[in-house]
Symmetry: C2
């Protein structure tokens, strides 16, 4: 009996997933676009003054939850870049991706343009939605975070980071696009390197920022579809195209 | 002597204006784009619960500072749509533009694509930057507002409204674009009708919203250049193009 109940549950989950895919595809219907359903994770390590706290921890000899490159003794080694957990791991930049996949179970998607479908947008802050995106021979980390900068007023912050050096990151442009209810919002920028702290990018507000009402306008039944595209940097030279 | 001082002041102003034009054109360099320098006005009538207050005033027989179409006795007449001042004027929709120009001295610009250069972004909230834009046979009102929704945290809100009915407004799409420092932010939506209240559009957050740090990233020397384009609505049918 338990077996049948579980099977039925799994089938229901599959139908739900299929339905979410369908909804996302209806919005982002271009052929060949990959829709990735991303479930939220309640951020275990987030604190408003994380980066400052990290610095203090380094001084106290405790492993920081948010590493800066400066904090690593061997310049060849980088800390774990997962924005979700405090993790003592450090290793070469080339193996960060496999660490994130294996230890933190962050999905990786291939393709020039993908759709990131974040579910359960109503969950309380702090919450993170994270995937990796493999494109143009590099891997990128997409972070959507729900956070209360002003108490009682949660906002959504979305940014893309290159799993590579700042110099490599300068060669790319990422675009995040929301499109629903006769509204369209596009954010284009150069990705930051994961060697910079994702928390400081978000606290600086140098990313796509959505207040709750806009997030609701762009959401469909509690899920937010974000179209993602990465290109090599042409936008810098074409700033006058507008 | 006073005459010479004044002349010198005027020449300096002209040079400053010319320099601002040049800066805006450097960013939005497409030939034929009109750059309009828009100076701020400290909003005299703004209060957080303006629309609620308006409703109360109607009940008390006092002229509301923010009119809804429902509040007008003669359905042929509309109230003054200037978001800056409480104004007892009402008249036919066709003469709203000339009232705004003559009484409130709001500039009107022609052209399919213009650049709105808002100066003195550092001024404290509440502050408004307003122009009218004449395009595709209609007139639109562009409002940029600096407002503190959360005390101590001013934000910028930009929206475009058609000086016409909601049914007419549905035929258009407006685009606001910021482009600077290797970042680009685009907002596209159907304009609201001026018969709806600009204050409620902004308090709902259904517009382009910028926090102070993003506004600074997009500003050049205290001025924010917003590229504006209006088209007839094709985006609704092309939602799946992404």
């Amino acid at each position: 009996m338990l077996f049948f109940t579980q099977c039925f549950g799994a089938v229901l989950d599959l139908i739900h997933l299929r339905f979410q895919h369908y909804k996302a595809k209806r919005v982002f219907s271009a052929a060949g676009q990959l829709v990735c359903v991303v479930n939220p994770t309640h951020s275990l390590k987030y604190a408003p003054t994380l980066c400052a706290a990290a610095q203090t921890s380094v001084e106290q000899g405790v492993l920081p939850p948010c590493h800066h490159h400066e904090a690593v003794h061997d310049p060849q080694l980088v800390p774990c870049t997962c924005p979700l957990f405090s993790c003592p791991w450090e290793g070469h930049l080339e193996v960060v991706v496999s660490h994130l996949r294996q230890t933190h179970r962050i999905n990786i998607l291939q393709g020039a343009e993908i759709v990131f479908l974040a579910t359960d947008m109503h969950l309380p802050a702090p919450t993170d939605w994270i995937i990796m995106h493999s494109c143009l021979g590099h891997q990128f980390l997409l972070v959507l975070r729900k956070q209360e900068k002003y108490e009682g007023h949660p906002q959504f912050f979305a940014t893309m980071m290159l799993i590579g050096t700042p110099t490599q990151a300068d060669n790319f442009t990422y675009r995040l696009e929301l499109n629903r209810n006769q509204r369209r919002l596009k954010w284009e920028a150069t990705p930051r390197s994961v060697l910079e702290c994702v928390d400081s990018v978000i606290s600086d507000g140098d990313c796509l920022v959505l207040n709750t009402s806009l997030a609701q306008l762009f959401s469909d039944n509690g899920s937010l579809a974000i179209g993602i595209a990465i290109t090599t940097s042409k936008v810098h030279n074409a700033e006058g195209e507008m």
